[in-house]
C-alpha cells in the first residue's frame, strides 16, 4: 500500500470518529429539548461580603414556551460567595428561577452558575465584580532590615501593604509615614497604594550609626506597619559563588560589570555581575564563559581597554607556575581574545626564562603592560596593535631592582608618571618610566622592609600602601603607609599591624580614594579589613568582614553606583565573595 493511500484512509477514519464524537456531545440536542437562558443579574459589582442588589435570574423554555417546574441547580464557581434560593429551586409558571448572590471575601471577579439538566444553554454563568472592603490592616511587605551607611538613602524602599478585613489589597489608600527613631528623612510624608495595595517610601538614614525605624499608618486603621534599618559602617555579603577547588580562586578583575575570576586549573571564569550580557548582578553573578589557558595555574589578569583602537579585545592573564622565593619561578603571560565574551580564545603569550608573572598594571593610553615578575623584576611590554603568537619582540625593558636572588616582585602600579613596585624580598621601589620608550630605571626606595616579606601595593592620593606576607623575622601582619615626596619617592610614615593574621594578601584603595581595603589570610582575623582614608597618612579602621579560611585577594568594583568588594575565599571551600561595601564610605 502506498503511503498516500494510507494517509487518505487514516483521514477518513479520523473524520468518522470525530463525527461520532460530536453526535455524542452537547447537552440534549433534540426536537423537544429544554433551553435555559440568562435573564438578569449578570455583571453587577459590589463590595466583598455583600449581597448583590439584583438576583440572578434564568428562564427555562421548551420549544420556545416557558417550562414550569423544571429543576434549576445553582452553585458558586469562584470567589467563595454564597447563593440563596427557594428550595427546591424550580421554575415558576413563567419558566423563571432566581437566586440571590452574596459575594465572597476575595476581591476581583466572582462567578456563579445555574445548571438545568438536559437543557441547551446550560450552564448559565453569572459574573460579578467584588471590590475590597474598607482598609482594616496595614503591614510591612518589604525593605525592612537593611543596613547602609549613616546618612545614605536605602537601596530598597520600604513597602507597606494595606488590606481589608478579608486580606484583599486596597489600591488608592494614602499611607502616612513617620520616622520614629534614628532621625532620618523620608522621600514623602504620605504615599498612595498602587494596584497591589502597596505604598512605598524611601528612608535616608540618620547621620549617626544605629537603628532607624519608620511607621506607616492609615487613617481609621488600628496599628501601623513598622520598618527598621541600621546605619552602620558594615559590609554586606550579597553573593558567595563556589569556585572549583582546583587551587580555587586567586584573583578577580572587575570592569564594565564583568568579573574575571582567575581560578587556577579551572582557568579564567567570566561572570556577568552587572554588565547585562547574562542579566547578572552582584547578588546574582552569571557565568558567561571560561577558558583554561595553556598550562593552567591561572592567577591574575587585566582586561585591556585600548583607547587607541577603541577595542576591549585582550585579556592578559598571569600564569603563576611553581617557584621558590628568592631563587626561581616559572609561568607565562597569556593573551586571550575576549572580543566574543562567550567564546574567549588564547592568541598570544610572553615567556621569560626562569621567572613567572604575578600581577599587572597597564598604561592603557600608551598601550604598555607592566608585569611584576617573580624572580624577574618588572617587564614592560608593548601591547599595541594585534597580538599573536610569541610576544618576545614586544618587550620594551626589564628591570630587577633588588640584587640577584633578591628580586621577587609581587605587584606594580603606575602613578603620577612613576612605576611603583613591591618586592617580596627587597621592599618598596619607585621606578622611573620613559613613557615613549618604556625604559625603566630605579628612582628611589628599596631594601626598606627588612623584617617582613613584601606583598601587594596600592598607590593613591599621594600615598602608597604595601602589604606583607608570611613570616620573615616578623609575621606578615602589617600594612606599610608611605608618603610620596615631590619627586614621588616613598617615605615610610606609618605601619598598621593587625594581630591575628599571617599575611596581607591584597591591598587596594577605592576609586574615590576614601576607602582602603586589604585581605588577610591565616589566623583568627583573616578576612576583609576596611580603613577610612580621611587621613591617608593614618588610616582608621572602620570595619572588618571575617572569613575564617582566609581571603587570598580583594578587588573593588563599582556597579550601578554602588561599591563592591570581590574577594577570593581560599583555600578551603573556595568561593568568590561579593560584599556591598557602599555603607563603609565615609
Amino acid at each position: 500500500m502506498s503511503t498516500s493511500l494510507k494517509v487518505r484512509r487514516l483521514g477518513v477514519l479520523a473524520a468518522l470518529a470525530a463525527g461520532s464524537a460530536l453526535l455524542r456531545c452537547g447537552d440534549g440536542i433534540g426536537p423537544t429539548a429544554l433551553s435555559v437562558a440568562l435573564v438578569s443579574g449578570n455583571g453587577q459589582s459590589d463590595t466583598v461580603g455583600r449581597t448583590l442588589a439584583t438576583p440572578l435570574v434564568v428562564q427555562v423554555t421548551r420549544e420556545g414556551a416557558p417550562a414550569t417546574d423544571v429543576a434549576v441547580s445553582w452553585s458558586v464557581l469562584s470567589g467563595g460567595g454564597s447563593l440563596s434560593f427557594a428550595t427546591p429551586s424550580t421554575t415558576d409558571n413563567l419558566g423563571i428561577a432566581r437566586a440571590a448572590f452574596t459575594l465572597g471575601p476575595l476581591a476581583g471577579q466572582q462567578r456563579a452558575q445555574a445548571r438545568v439538566a438536559g437543557a441547551s444553554g446550560s450552564p448559565v454563568v453569572f459574573t460579578a465584580g467584588a471590590s475590597a472592603d474598607r482598609p482594616a490592616q496595614i503591614t510591612p511587605s518589604g525593605g525592612s532590615g537593611q543596613t547602609d551607611a549613616p546618612g545614605r538613602p536605602l537601596a530598597v524602599p520600604f513597602a507597606a501593604l494595606v488590606r481589608d478585613q478579608h486580606g484583599n489589597p486596597i489600591p488608592g489608600v494614602w499611607v502616612q509615614w513617620t520616622v520614629t527613631a534614628g532621625g532620618g528623612s523620608l522621600s514623602a510624608d504620605s504615599t498612595g497604594t498602587d494596584g497591589t495595595g502597596t505604598a512605598l517610601v524611601t528612608l535616608t538614614l540618620g547621620s549617626a550609626p544605629g537603628p532607624n525605624t519608620v511607621a506607616g499608618t492609615v487613617s481609621g486603621v488600628a496599628g501601623s506597619a513598622t520598618f527598621s534599618a541600621t546605619g552602620a559602617h558594615q559590609p554586606i555579603l550579597v553573593a558567595s559563588v563556589p569556585i572549583p577547588p582546583f587551587y580555587g580562586i586567586h584573583d578577580t578583575y572587575v570592569r564594565d560589570g564583568l568579573a574575571f575570576v582567575f581560578a587556577w586549573d579551572r582557568g579564567v571564569m567570566i561572570f556577568d555581575v552587572g554588565n547585562g550580557i547574562q542579566s547578572g548582578s552582584p547578588a546574582d553573578p552569571r557565568l558567561v564563559s571560561s577558558l583554561v589557558t595553556s598550562g593552567g595555574d591561572v592567577h591574575n589578569g587585566w582586561w585591556f581597554h585600548n583607547p587607541v583602537s577603541r577595542e576591549n579585545r585582550y585579556l592578559f592573564i598571569g600564569q603563576e607556575g611553581p617557584g621558590s622565593i628568592g631563587s626561581s619561578s616559572l609561568g607565562d603571560i597569556h593573551v586571550v581574545d575576549v572580543s566574543n565574551l562567550p567564546d574567549p580564545r588564547e592568541v598570544a603569550f610572553y615567556h621569560m626564562e626562569g621567572a613567572g608573572p604575578h600581577n599587572f598594571w597597564m598604561d592603557e593610553s600608551r598601550q604598555i603592560l607592566y608585569a611584576a615578575y617573580y624572580n624577574g623584576g618588572v617587564v614592560a611590554l608593548d601591547v599595541s596593535g594585534t597580538l599573536a603568537g610569541n610576544l618576545a619582540s614586544r618587550a620594551l625593558d626589564t628591570i630587577a631592582p633588588g640584587a640577584p636572588s633578591n628580586t621577587f616582585i609581587w605587584g606594580v602600579q603606575l602613578y603620577n608618571g612613576s612605576l611603583y613596585a613591591i618586592d617580596m624580598l627587597s621592599g618598596f621601589w619607585q621606578l622611573g618610566v620613559d613613557t615613549t620608550s618604556g625604559t625603566l630605571t630605579i628612582a628611589a626606595g628599596g631594601n626598606n622592609v627588612p623584617e617582613r616579606y613584601g606583598s601587594d601595593l596600592w598607590v593613591a592620593g599621594g600615598y602608597a600602601y604595601t602589604g606583607t606576607w608570611g613570616f620573615r623575622t616578623q609575621p606578615g601582619n602589617a600594612v606599610k603607609v608611605w608618603q610620596l615626596g615631590p619627586t614621588g619617592s616613598p617615605a615610610l610614615v606609618h605601619t598598621i599591624v593587625t594581630p591575628g593574621i599571617g599575611t596581607v594578601s591584597d591591598v587596594e584603595v577605592s576609586p574615590d580614594g576614601r576607602l582602603l581595603m586589604f585581605s588577610a589570610e591565616q589566623g583568627s582575623s583573616a578576612g576583609f579589613h576596611f580603613y577610612d582614608l580621611t587621613n591617608p597618612a593614618a588610616p582608621a579602621l572602620i570595619a572588618t568582614y571575617p572569613v575564617s579560611t582566609g581571603v587570598h585577594t580583594a578587588t573593588f568594583g563599582t556597579i550601578n553606583g554602588r561599591l563592591y568588594a570581590f574577594g577570593a575565599k581560599n583555600p578551603f571551600d573556595p568561593a568568590l565573595l561579593i560584599l556591598d561595601v557602599t555603607p563603609l564610605l565615609p
Binding site: P245, Y247, P322, G323, Y453, G470, I501, Q522, G523
Partner: protein, 398 residues
C-alpha cells in the same frame, strides 16, 4: 594464634598487639626562636593481625590513637608534612586496614608466590615505617621515603629471594586523623618495589612511585615522583643482635622544579636488655608558607610557591633498657634520645639561622616505651611474614 617460629600454621589465628610511648622532649631552637619542652603520649596503637587458610588469607588492622593524644602533633625539629612543620603530624585513626591473599595460584606459578593486598595502609614503596624502627624521633625524610595511609590495591610476586610489588592508590595525603582516603582518586597514583633478599637478614629494595597531587586533596597539586633504595640488615654481630639500614631516596615535584633528596643510615645493637642506636640523616625538605602558628603550613596549598629548600643534617643517638625479660610478650623500656640538627639553605629565601635564631637545633627526649607483642613487627609490608614467619631476635622491637 600464630606461631612465630614455624611457618606451618594450619588453621585460623588471630593476634592482637599494641604499644605506646610516653615521652618528654625538650628542644632548643624552635620556629621564631627559643625552646620548648612538652610531654606527650605518642604512637599509641592497637593492632590486630589474623590469618587463615594456612596464611593464604591475612588481615591487618591498626588503630592509631595519635589523633587523640597528639592532635597538634609532637615537637620534632625538621619533621614536615600534612600541614605540620617541625612537628610530626598525628596519623589517622585507621592507620591500616588491609586484607591480603597470599600464594593465590598455589602451584600454578611454580615456585613463585603471588599475592594481592587490598585496603588502607602502606603502599609498596621505600623502607619500613619509622614507627617500627629503633629511633623514636621520626626522620625528616618520612614523606620522601614512605607512602602510607592510602587506599590501595597491591599485587606481589615472590620467587625465591626476589619479590616484586606494585600498587595503585590514591595520591592524596590525609589532612586530619579522622579523614579517609579520597576513593575517587584511587588509581591516580602508582608505586612499585623490587626487593632482593640474597641471604638471611639482608634485604635490598628499589622503589619507584608517582604520587598525584599528594598535598592537595582535590587533585590540583603537581605530581610527586619518587625513587628509593635501601639496604637493611639484621642479625647477630659478635653474638649481639644488631640491625642497620642505609637508605637513599629522592622526590621531585612540578616536573622536576622541586627536588628533595635524602640519605639516611641507622643502626642498633641490643646486648642483653640494652638497646643502643644511632642515626645519621641528611634530608632536603620544602620550606612552605607557615600560618600564624609557625608549626603549621597552609593546607591545602594556595599555589606552587615555597620559600625554598633546606637541607637538614641530623645526628641522633639513643639508649634504652628493657625492664622486662627479653623476648617476652610485654616490653617496658625506658629510653633517652638526643638529636642535633643543622639546617642549611639549599635554595630560596628561607634562612634557618634567622627563623630558628640559631644554627644548630638540639633536642633531648626521655620516656618509656610500652609494647605488647610488638617484637619483630615491621610496618610497611603485608606478606613478608612479619608475624607468622620466622624472625631473628630483632633489634627493632617497637
Amino acid at each position: 594464634m600464630p606461631h612465630a617460629a614455624s611457618g606451618q600454621v594450619p588453621g585460623a589465628w588471630i593476634r592482637p598487639a599494641g604499644q605506646a610511648v610516653a615521652v618528654f622532649t625538650q628542644v632548643q631552637g624552635i620556629p621564631g626562636g627559643g625552646s620548648l619542652g612538652e610531654a606527650r603520649l605518642v604512637q599509641p596503637m592497637l593492632m590486630l593481625d589474623a590469618g587463615a587458610l594456612g596464611n593464604r588469607a591475612l588481615f591487618r588492622a591498626t588503630l592509631d590513637l595519635e589523633g587523640w593524644t597528639i592532635p597538634n602533633g609532637e615537637i620534632s625539629p625538621g619533621s614536615w608534612g600534612e600541614g605540620f612543620m617541625d612537628r610530626r603530624h598525628p596519623h589517622t585513626y585507621v592507620h591500616e586496614l588491609v586484607l591480603t591473599g597470599d600464594d593465590l595460584f598455589g602451584g600454578l606459578d611454580r615456585a613463585a608466590r603471588t599475592g594481592l593486598s587490598v585496603g588502607k595502609g602502606f603502599v609498596p614503596f621505600g623502607s619500613d615505617d619509622p614507627m617500627s624502627r629503633p629511633v623514636l624521633r621520626y626522620p625528616v625524610n618520612h614523606h620522601i621515603a614512605q607512602i602510607l595511609e592510602r587506599a590501595m590495591v597491591a599485587a606481589s610476586v615472590r620467587a625465591g629471594p626476589v619479590e616484586f610489588e606494585a600498587a595503585v592508590f590514591n595520591g592524596d595525603e590525609p589532612e586530619r586523623p579522622a579523614q579517609w582516603p579520597k576513593l575517587d582518586r584511587v588509581g591516580d597514583s602508582w608505586s612499585a618495589r623490587l626487593t632482593l633478599r640474597p641471604m638471611m637478614g639482608v634485604e635490598w629494595q628499589l622503589s619507584r612511585a608517582r604520587v598525584a597531587s599528594p598535598e592537595h586533596r582535590e587533585g590540583a597539586g603537581t605530581p610527586n615522583h619518587k625513587w628509593s633504595t635501601s639496604v637493611r640488615w639484621e642479625g647477630p654481630l659478635r653474638k649481639i643482635p644488631a640491625y642497620a639500614l642505609l637508605e637513599w631516596a629522592r622526590a621531585s615535584e612540578a616536573g622536576g622544579f622541586f627536588v628533595f633528596r635524602t640519605l639516611l643510615f641507622e643502626a642498633q645493637g641490643s646486648p642483653g636488655r640494652h638497646r643502643v642506636y644511632y642515626r645519621f640523616e641528611r634530608t632536603e625538605r620544602p620550606e612552605e608558607l607557615r600560618t600564624t602558628d609557625l608549626f603549621r603550613s597552609v593546607r591545602p596549598h594556595l599555589d606552587d610557591q615555597n620559600l625554598g629548600i633546606t637541607r637538614w643534617t641530623v645526628h641522633t643517638i639513643g639508649f634504652g633498657l628493657s625492664l622486662w625479660p627479653t623476648g617476652g610478650a610485654i616490653e617496658l623500656r625506658p629510653f633517652a634520645e638526643a638529636a642535633a640538627a643543622r639546617p642549611r639553605t639549599v635554595t630560596g629565601a628561607f634562612d634557618p639561622a634567622i627563623f630558628y635564631r640559631r644554627t644548630e637545633i638540639v633536642s633531648l627526649s626521655v620516656g618509656l616505651r610500652a609494647a605488647w607483642r610488638m617484637a619483630g613487627h615491621r610496618m610497611g609490608r603485608y606478606r613478608d611474614g612479619t608475624v607468622h614467619e620466622p624472625k631473628t631476635a630483632g633489634p627493632h622491637e617497637h
